[in-house]
C-alpha cells in the first residue's frame, strides 16, 4: 500500500519535472533547428522540427548583412579584455579592503557600497556625453571602461579574501616577499575558485549586455552580438533564418562552456551566492 503510494508520487514528481525540463530546453532545440532552415520555412505550419540544409546559406547571408565574423570577434574581444581586467581590479581592491588597515578605508568602502545600490541607468546620459566629448563612440574602450570597476565583484572578492589566513601573508613578508609579489603569488592562487566565479559573472554580463553598447555603438563593424541581433529586428524585411543563426551563434559558445564547467558557472552567475 505504502510502496504504491510512493511510486505514484515518484511518477508524479518525475513527470512534472520532465515537463519543466522540456519547457526549458525546447526553445534551444528549436533555435538551433531554425538556424538550418530558410526564413520562410521557420514559419511553416506544421513546424519543421528536424534540421534542414540551409545552414551554410544562412551563414553566407548573415556574413553579408552583418559581417558576423567581425561582430563575433568584437563580442569576444570586449568580453575577454573586460573579464581579465575587471577580475584583476576587483581582486586587488577586495584584497586591500580585506587584509589591510589604512586611513580612509571605511570611506572608500562606503563609496563602493553606494555605487552598488545605484541603478546604472542614472549614469547613462552623462556617460554618453562623456563618450562624445572623448570622441569614444564606436570604440572598444567605450564599452569596456565605464563598467570595469564592478562594485559587486569587489564586494565578493573582499568576502573571499577575508577567509585567507593572515599568517600566510605574514610568513611571506618575513620571507622578504614584497606586497605585489604576495598578492600575485600567494593571494591569487589560493582564491582561485572565487576568481573563477567573478570572471564567469563578469564575462556573462558583458557578453549579454545590450543597453550600453546599443547607445555607444552605431557603426556596423563595431557591433557586439546583442546589438547586431537587435539591429536585424529593426530591418524592414527580417530574415528569420539569419536571425536564428545569429542567436544560435551568440548562445552556443556559452552553452559549451556551461556544460564543461557547470558548477563554477552556476556559482559564478549566481554571484558566488551559492557554494558547493
Amino acid at each position: 500500500m505504502i510502496t504504491s503510494k510512493k511510486l505514484s508520487t515518484k511518477i508524479l514528481i518525475y513527470s512534472l519535472l520532465i515537463i519543466g525540463v522540456i519547457l526549458s530546453i525546447a526553445p534551444f532545440y528549436w533555435m538551433i533547428v531554425g538556424s538550418t532552415h530558410p526564413s520562410g520555412e521557420i514559419f511553416r505550419v506544421p513546424p519543421k522540427l528536424l534540421p534542414g540544409n540551409y545552414l551554410a546559406k544562412n551563414f553566407e547571408s548573415l556574413s553579408e548583412s552583418l559581417g558576423i565574423a567581425k561582430v563575433f570577434w568584437n563580442s569576444l574581444y570586449i568580453a575577454i579584455v573586460y573579464t581579465v581586467l575587471s577580475t584583476l581590479i576587483s581582486a586587488m581592491a577586495g584584497y586591500a579592503f580585506a587584509k589591510y588597515r589604512f586611513k580612509g578605508k571605511n570611506g572608500f568602502f562606503f563609496v563602493i557600497l553606494c555605487s552598488l545600490m545605484i541603478p546604472f541607468q542614472v549614469t547613462l546620459i552623462p556617460l554618453f556625453e562623456m563618450m562624445v566629448s572623448f570622441d569614444w563612440l564606436n570604440t572598444y574602450q567605450a564599452i569596456i571602461l565605464p563598467s570595469l570597476a564592478a562594485p559587486f565583484s569587489i564586494y565578493l572578492m573582499r568576502q573571499n579574501m577575508q577567509v585567507v589566513p593572515d599568517s600566510i601573508i605574514e610568513a611571506s613578508r618575513v620571507d622578504g616577499a614584497g606586497e605585489l609579489r604576495i598578492f600575485f603569488t600567494v593571494i591569487l592562487p589560493v582564491t582561485r575558485p572565487a576568481l573563477a566565479a567573478v570572471a564567469i559573472f563578469q564575462f556573462m554580463s558583458q557578453w549579454n549586455s545590450l543597453l550600453w553598447p546599443l547607445i555607444t555603438l552605431n557603426s556596423k563593424d563595431m557591433f557586439t552580438l546583442p546589438v547586431a541581433l537587435s539591429s536585424l529586428i529593426g530591418m524592414a524585411r527580417i530574415d528569420y533564418g539569419e536571425l536564428m543563426l545569429g542567436t544560435t551563434l551568440s548562445t552556443i559558445p556559452i552553452m559549451i562552456f556551461f556544460l564543461l564547467l557547470q558548477k563554477q558557472f552556476i556559482s559564478g552567475i549566481l554571484g558566488g551566492s551559492v557554494k558547493e
Binding site: L17, G20, A93, I125
Partner: protein
C-alpha cells in the same frame, strides 16, 4: 629576550626589503584600490552627480539652461511615463510571485529523496539563465508569432484559437512576463535548491519523531527555513524588474500602444531617440527614488526577520 630579537630582525628585514620593493605595507592598499576607485569616481560618481544637475536643466544641442523643477512637473503630467510606471509594476506584481512559486515548487521536487539524476535536472533548468536576454527574446518573438508561431500551433492542436501574443496590449504584457519567467525561474530555483540543502536534516528527524507529517513539516520547517533565501530572491528579482529593458525592447518595442513601455525603455527613448537629456535624467532620478524606497522597505523586512 629571544622575542625582542626576533621582532628587531623582522623589522630590519622589512626595512631592507622596502628598499627593494616599491610598495610598503602602508602604501600598498592605496595602490591596490586605486584603479577601482579612480574608475568609480570617473564613471559612476561623476555621472550620478552630473545626471542630478541635468535633471534641472534643458539641453538644446550643446546649450544647457537651468529650468528649475520643470522636468519633474512635466513628468507628473506625462501619460506615457505614468503608463511605463504602471506597466513596470503590473509586470512586477504578476511575474515575481509566479516565478518564485514555480522556483520553489521545482526546487522542492528536485530535493525529494525519490528523485535521481538531480544534477542533470539542475543543468537543464539552469540553461535559460545562461542565454542573452536578447537571444531569448528573439526566439520567443518568433515562437509567439500570432499566425505561424509554434506556441499557437501547439495550442491549436488542443483546439484553442490563435492568441495575438505580441499585438494586443494585454497579451503583449503576458508575453513579456512569459519570457522573463522562462529566463529566470531556473536561476532562482538553483538558489532555493541550495537553501533547501542547507536545512539541517535533524530538524526533520525531530519533527517526524514528534509525529508531524510531510505536509506539516513543509509548512513548519521548510518554508520558515527558506525565508532568508526567499527575501534575497524577491529583492533581486524586484530590482531586476524595475530595470526591465531588453525583453520589451526586442519583443514589442514597448508597444502595442505603450502597453509594454517600461521605465528604462522610456528613459532610453527620451534620451537616445529624442535626445532630451534633461528630461531623461529626471526619469532616471525617479527610478533611483523608487529603487531606494523599495530597497528600504525590503531591508526593513529583512531586519524584522533577523530579530
Amino acid at each position: 629576550m629571544e622575542k625582542t630579537e626576533q621582532v628587531v630582525s623582522t623589522a630590519s628585514n622589512y626595512r631592507t626589503k622596502t628598499r627593494k620593493n616599491i610598495l610598503t605595507p602602508k602604501s600598498a592598499p592605496y595602490v591596490f584600490i586605486a584603479p577601482a576607485f579612480i574608475l568609480i569616481l570617473i564613471f559612476t560618481v561623476y555621472p550620478v552627480i552630473s545626471s542630478f544637475i541635468l535633471s534641472f536643466q534643458e539641453v538644446r544641442g550643446v546649450e544647457k539652461t537651468f529650468v528649475g523643477l520643470s522636468n519633474y512637473t512635466r513628468l507628473i503630467h506625462d501619460p506615457v511615463f505614468y503608463k511605463s510606471l504602471i506597466n513596470t509594476f503590473q509586470i512586477l506584481i504578476v511575474q515575481v510571485p509566479i516565478m518564485i512559486f514555480l522556483a520553489i515548487l521545482i526546487a522542492v521536487g528536485l530535493n525529494s529523496t525519490l528523485i535521481k539524476a538531480k544534477s542533470l535536472f539542475r543543468i537543464a533548468y539552469f540553461m535559460p539563465a545562461i542565454t542573452a536576454l536578447v537571444a531569448a527574446s528573439i526566439v520567443f518573438m518568433i515562437l509567439l508569432d500570432e499566425h505561424f508561431g509554434l506556441v499557437n500551433y501547439v495550442l491549436s492542436l488542443i483546439g484553442l484559437d490563435n492568441i495575438p501574443w505580441l499585438t494586443t496590449p494585454f497579451w503583449a504584457k503576458v508575453s513579456v512576463i512569459f519570457v522573463m519567467t522562462w529566463r529566470w525561474t531556473g536561476y532562482n530555483m538553483v538558489i532555493f535548491l541550495a537553501g533547501l540543502q542547507n536545512i539541517p536534516a535533524d530538524l526533520y528527524e525531530a519533527a517526524s519523531m514528534d509525529g508531524a507529517g510531510k505536509v506539516k513539516q513543509f509548512f513548519m520547517i521548510t518554508l520558515p527555513q527558506l525565508k532568508p533565501v526567499f527575501i534575497f530572491t524577491v529583492v533581486m528579482s524586484t530590482i531586476g524588474t524595475l530595470q526591465l529593458f531588453d525583453e520589451p525592447f526586442i519583443l514589442t518595442h514597448g508597444g502595442p500602444n505603450s502597453a509594454t513601455m517600461t521605465i528604462t525603455l522610456y528613459l532610453y527613448e527620451t534620451g537616445f531617440k529624442f535626445f532630451d537629456f534633461g528630461y531623461a535624467s529626471a526619469i532616471a532620478y525617479v527610478l533611483v527614488l523608487i529603487t531606494a524606497v523599495i530597497s528600504w522597505v525590503q531591508m526593513k523586512l529583512v531586519g524584522d526577520t533577523e530579530q
